[in-house]
């Protein structure tokens, strides 16, 4: 057949966009300092709950211990309360369609569940028990600690985890954000007493945010929360991470993984935060560069050259510093060429203007996926939890949409020059150094290191 030619007269035009409805947000603050955000939504009869508790390491020298204790606490908090053992807690939640997941990152602890609407009061009751009366029983904690150690060993064998850890170590130096996975040795020495103290000191209502989205009546939900969580009144103040330091990019690091059949390329650098006026331009620049399938990076190293399956770039937000990141897992034999093409596309973003069509496509995509992402109870609850946790409000969504709508080509070039230029990015490659090192040295200095393997 002859090569297809796009006949734009054939492609159905787009209709007028329907504006994304602005969520109806009911916000209150309890006497304890807990912020409550309730969004009633029609649709399926479910309620999504997110409780976000600030949980950053209080200082760099405590970061490793804090990460180790936190990694056990997320599972151990569910192991029993003064009133119920682990099984009873799980059954109480399950009866209302729920299962509580507790997770942590460098900034926060997050309690998360979905439930059938009639479960709101009882599930809040279980949550209150966990917050005020978790017991950290010795036997079950011991077992949980062993499982966490095993899981850390498994995680450390994943090439993606090795690459992410290496990049974080290089970018953040002594800052707690360098701590991607706790040390298995430190985890092995976490005691129930240390967990009780960590819980007492840091699981605090002041600074925390509870988000409920779904089939709820705002006034009734506020009453239910006020009643259930009245006893969660611990004194103290949330701890936020210290600002991340400016670390100048060091030479490319190649982490040796003998026999690897792929190389994992990771680039990272700072990015504007959620309230920075440059954020919309950087998000658009990232989309055009490698943020979605219609991007330059995908067209180049996947669709033209077949080097990789899923290259991508993005902007990520942590409380103390945001990041622009680039990921590509490529065949070992083309490690050098793939990094060269990635740098080439980054340089082109910073030095030459994007086209009007590229900008419009990226703009409409970001607006469309924002609407899709907040169209479900779960998506909206997670989005609002992150925004309120960062000290913002639901208004941010509307403001950000308006800002995305007005960014021009010059602003994208300027943002790319400042934030996407290859010279400003830290680069790490995980792969077989015997195959990849010489290719990479053609492009510049390379430091080859062995993977950080922990003996136990």
């Amino acid at each position: 057949m002859s090569a297809p030619v796009l006949d734009l007269s054939l492609v159905p035009p787009l209709g007028e966009p329907r504006p994304t409805p602005v969520p109806e947000v009911h916000e209150t603050t309890l006497p304890s300092g807990l912020r409550l955000v309730v969004v009633p939504r029609p649709g399926v009869p479910l309620v999504e709950l997110r409780l976000r508790v600030p949980f950053a390491a209080s200082a760099a020298r405590q970061a490793a211990t804090h990460a180790a204790r936190t990694s056990v606490l997320t599972g151990a908090v569910l192991l029993g309360t003064a009133g119920h053992d682990q099984l009873e807690i799980a059954q109480l939640l399950q009866a209302h369609g729920g299962e509580l997941s507790v997770s942590a990152d460098a900034d926060r602890l997050l309690f998360s569940t979905t439930m059938l609407p009639d479960g709101l009061a009882p599930v809040l009751g279980v949550l209150a028990e966990l917050l005020t009366a978790a017991t950290y029983p010795a036997g079950p904690v011991d077992a949980e600690r062993s499982r966490v150690v095993e899981r850390i060993h498994i995680a450390r064998s994943q090439p993606g985890v090795i690459a992410r850890s290496a990049l974080a170590a290089r970018r953040y130096g002594a800052h707690p954000y360098a701590q991607q996975l706790p040390s298995a040795d430190l985890v092995g020495s976490v005691t129930p007493a240390a967990l009780r103290k960590l819980h007492r000191d840091r699981v605090l209502p002041a600074g925390s945010t509870l988000v409920l989205v779904g089939e709820v009546d705002p006034a009734a939900a506020a009453d239910a929360v006020g009643t259930a969580l009245a006893g969660w009144v611990a004194e103290g103040k949330a701890v936020a991470a210290a600002p991340v330091p400016d670390v100048a990019p060091a030479p490319l690091q190649l982490v040796h993984r003998p026999g690897a059949v792929q190389s994992n390329i990771r680039l990272g650098g700072p990015a504007p935060g959620r309230t920075d006026p440059q954020l919309p331009a950087v998000r658009l620049a990232s989309m055009v560069f490698g943020g979605y399938f219609s991007s330059r990076l995908v067209e180049n190293i996947r669709e033209r050259r077949g080097y990789t399956y899923s290259p991508r770039s993005g902007v990520e937000h942590l409380m103390a510093g945001s990041s622009f990141t680039v990921d590509a897992d490529v065949a070992t034999a083309v490690t050098g060429p793939a990094l060269l093409e990635t740098w080439y596309e980054l340089g082109r973003m910073a030095l030459t203007p994007v086209t009007e069509a590229e900008l419009e496509s990226a703009r409409r995509y970001l607006l469309g996926t924002l609407a899709l992402g907040t169209a479900t109870h779960a998506g909206l609850a997670s989005t609002l939890s992150a925004l309120f946790g960062a000290g913002l409000s639901a208004e941010w969504l509307a403001d950000h949409q308006r800002a995305l709508a007005t960014v021009g080509i010059d602003e994208v070039t300027e943002a790319s020059r400042q934030w996407l230029s290859p010279a400003g990015l830290t680069a790490v490659v995980v792969g077989d150094a015997e195959e990849a090192a010489d290719q990479l040295r053609v492009l510049g200095p390379v430091e080859v290191t062995a993977p950080a393997v922990e003996e136990s």
Binding site: M1, A95, G97, I154, A331, E360, G368
Partner: protein, 437 residues
């Protein structure tokens, strides 16, 4: 605790019609958010592949994004994404699907794009070579370069089943992939991608009459071709235990997967529903039987999960399929201790039955998960489409919560009696990297 059955049926009406070329169309309107989902399911999956062409269904899925009669390479993605939409496709055992979620003003564009590639995808030598390279990287990232890569879905079928359809590697061998030709792809398209072998399902913010007109406008011109004969994948139930071992040089610790044949998900759905709740009862969450026994009481495992269908969706597979229990355990726990504990827990259900309150809790949890899946327009649309293709009734997707709420403790007990230690397929993963641990 749970609402009455009738209240659990999703109140999304379903409309259907069939075009002259045989394309089955399902419309599921819901005007609450300004978003539509458009999906096309073709009745061809990994189990349809002939010997010598392993991985071809998936490779062909990639080819469907390489352009079509009026759409050059990369433009399919651009036209969807520039409208604010997302897209993807996936290859399963029994079907291959393509889907888009978009703002509703882009509905006609999405219909045009799906019709254009159903009529004539751009199957060229250059595109085929490029996508063979991309698929090889996909296999490296998901299987070869990663500990536990594709465990156990690629290796367990080889032990659990007999026929080529059920046992071969659905990702494909590099040899088969590399020797694939444009002629193979053209033949595959002509045989399996006929309109009469597909279901088009559109859900979300749409008007039924207008949408039917748009569907007819773009899909009526796709020429009719005969559908291939219905695939035969069922095979006799096993009568013995079978064991196999896979060595993983990248994994730091061992794992084991146990597969049992289960009732026909389509021909014997009522019996199968008992197996669905048994699976949840065994392994969903901290209250489940295997989580309690393996992790908390006996401390034999680091993680466990059980699921129906190799990809975890119990309702989108045909016979023959498996209930799989997968357990990651420390190296100093012998695999046979893990197996014994799993079999004992199942035997307790088979012998003692299931308390009604426990089953009610499991049902409530399952119900919430089905509702959560249905909360997204795309999730709901894919559910309707696979129910239409696999079960012949899109409505089933909306009725599942109510059907599951009606399952009795006796049905779950009967399901447990089917999971005999004497007919299980067992795949051990041994960590052979030699790390000193």
């Amino acid at each position: 605790m749970t609402a009455a059955g009738a209240d659990l049926t999703l109140r999304h009406p379903v409309e259907r019609f069939t075009l002259d070329n045989g394309l089955r169309v399902v419309l599921a309107p819901d005007r609450s958010v300004p978003v539509v989902a458009v999906s096309v399911f073709y009745d061809v999956g990994m189990r349809s592949e002939p010997p010598g062409r392993t991985g071809f269904a998936h490779l062909f899925e990639h080819m469907m994004f390489q352009g079509s009669a009026n759409v050059p390479k990369m433009e399919h993605a651009r036209l969807v994404q520039a409208a604010g939409g997302t897209f993807n496709g996936s290859t399963h055992q029994d079907y291959t699907n393509y889907f888009q979620a978009l703002p509703s003003e882009a509905l006609e564009r999405a219909i045009f794009l799906e019709a254009d590639r159903m009529a004539a995808p751009a199957i060229t030598e250059e595109n085929l070579r490029n996508q063979i390279d991309v698929v090889k990287e996909e296999i490296r990232v998901n299987v070869l370069n990663r500990p536990y890569g594709a465990f156990p879905w690629l290796q367990l079928p080889e032990i659990a089943f007999e026929s080529f359809a059920n046992t071969h590697d659905g990702y494909g061998s590099f040899v088969d992939l590399e020797s694939s030709t444009v002629d193979d792809a053209t033949d595959f398209f002509s045989r399996y991608y006929a309109p009469s072998n597909a279901v088009l399902c559109i859900g979300g913010d749409l008007d039924v009459t207008e949408t039917e007109a748009l569907v007819r406008r773009w899909f009526d011109p796709v020429p009719a071709r005969p559908a291939p004969p219905a695939p035969v994948v069922g095979e006799p139930s096993p009568t013995t235990v079978r064991r196999g071992v896979v060595e993983d040089a990248l994994a730091p610790a061992p794992a084991v997967a146990i597969g049992w044949r289960v009732p026909d998900p389509v021909g014997d759905l009522d019996t199968y529903l008992g197996t669905v709740l048994l699976t949840e009862l065994l392994s969903e969450g901290d209250a489940s039987r295997l989580e309690r026994r393996l992790l908390h009481t006996d401390r034999l495992a680091v993680a466990q999960s059980s699921y129906l269908g190799l990809f975890g969706d119990p309702f989108d597979v045909r016979d023959a399929t498996l209930l799989v229990s997968q357990v990651h355990h420390p190296a100093d726990v012998p695999v046979d201790r893990v197996l014994q504990a799993v079999h004992e827990e199942i035997d307790k259900v088979a012998t003692d039955g299931v308390p009604a309150d426990e089953l009610a809790r499991v049902t409530a949890r399952t119900e919430a998960q089905l509702l959560q899946q249905a909360d997204s327009v795309l999730g709901r649309t894919l559910g309707f489409a696979s129910a239409e293709l696999v079960h012949g009734r899109a409505e089933l997707a909306g009725e599942l919560a109510a059907r599951l709420a009606a399952v009795t403790p006796e049905q779950v007990q009967a399901a447990a009696r089917g999971l005999s230690p004497d007919t299980a397929a067992i795949l051990e993963l041994r960590a052979t990297g030699g790390q000193s641990r």
